[in-house]
Symmetry: C2
Subunit: 137 residues, 2 copies
DNA sequence: TGTAAATATGAATATATGCTCATATATTCA
DNA sequence: TGAATATATGAGCATATATTCATATTTACA
């Protein structure tokens, strides 16, 4: 959901003495867009089907029907998701005959996936006594 | 012949010779849930408001109204998002008088944010000649 | 104690999104 | 060339989700 209406509640609204004083030039430091780009990347990665696709092609390139088989989903559904991953430049593709092979674009993605799983693994024991816990957003 | 069966795409459907042979035990290796947990984490991070909140509290803890001021959004909207971040155990909170201070829970998040921005930064020049490009999912 | 401030939360709503279905395109091979 | 295969894509639908609004809760302070 793209950032909606920038409601302008004035700074003066908050009178709590605990508020940090220095009014920074902008909300986010590195130019704004960089942080938003990061959020976009996370959003693309934030879907189970897409992470499963990425995991499936993490070791070696695979064609669409191969991925579809492995995930037990229709090639159409996979293709739709691959389009999103392509647009985000997360995967690359090369055509071989009738097939199209997809691979990870670079190592950043592998690193992000690994780090996120690491975080999840460390989080798991204390946080999820009853197993997987779907976080509602 | 009426129509091809509903659609449980069996492995045999794909006859392309390019498909990888070895039928791996499962779609994803590390137990399945770990990969899904990673996707969940990404999903929570994949929202501009939430990344802006995280960035705002990356250096030091801030109260809700402070964050709201900085993002120029209502405390209610911020509070809703903080709840999601809390449930995902991405932020911690401590109460001080009427205010509630939020901080990042651990360094993993900082690392993920930094890596994602790094990826975005490297991606940027060739991929986005016209500036920020919203990726439709 | 009573009022105001800071935060939290439930309901409602507009929008976004993932999948299915139908169909188009591209490529191989008989 | 024509049939079959692999992939891509647009429309439609059911669901998810981010914000607003109203209201509840907690705490400080006069």
């Amino acid at each position: 959901m793209p950032t909606p209406a920038p409601k302008p509640p004035s700074r003066a609204d908050c009178t709590c003495g605990t508020r940090s004083a220095a009014a920074e030039p902008a909300v986010d430091r590195p130019g704004g867009t960089l942080l938003e780009d990061a959020a976009d990347l996370f959003r693309v990665l934030g879907d189970t089907t897409r992470t499963r696709i990425l995991w499936a092609i993490a070791d070696e390139g695979r064609c669409v029907c191969d991925i579809a088989d492995r995930l037990a989903m229709t090639p159409s559904a996979i293709s739709h998701q691959l389009r999103i991953l392509k647009q985000a430049r997360i995967v690359r593709h090369r055509k071989v005959g009738r097939s199209v092979f997809y691979t990870l674009d670079d190592d950043h993605i592998r690193t992000l996936l690994r780090d996120a799983m690491e975080h999840a693994a460390e989080m798991a024991p204390p946080a999820r006594p009853g197993g997987r816990r779907r976080i509602r957003t």
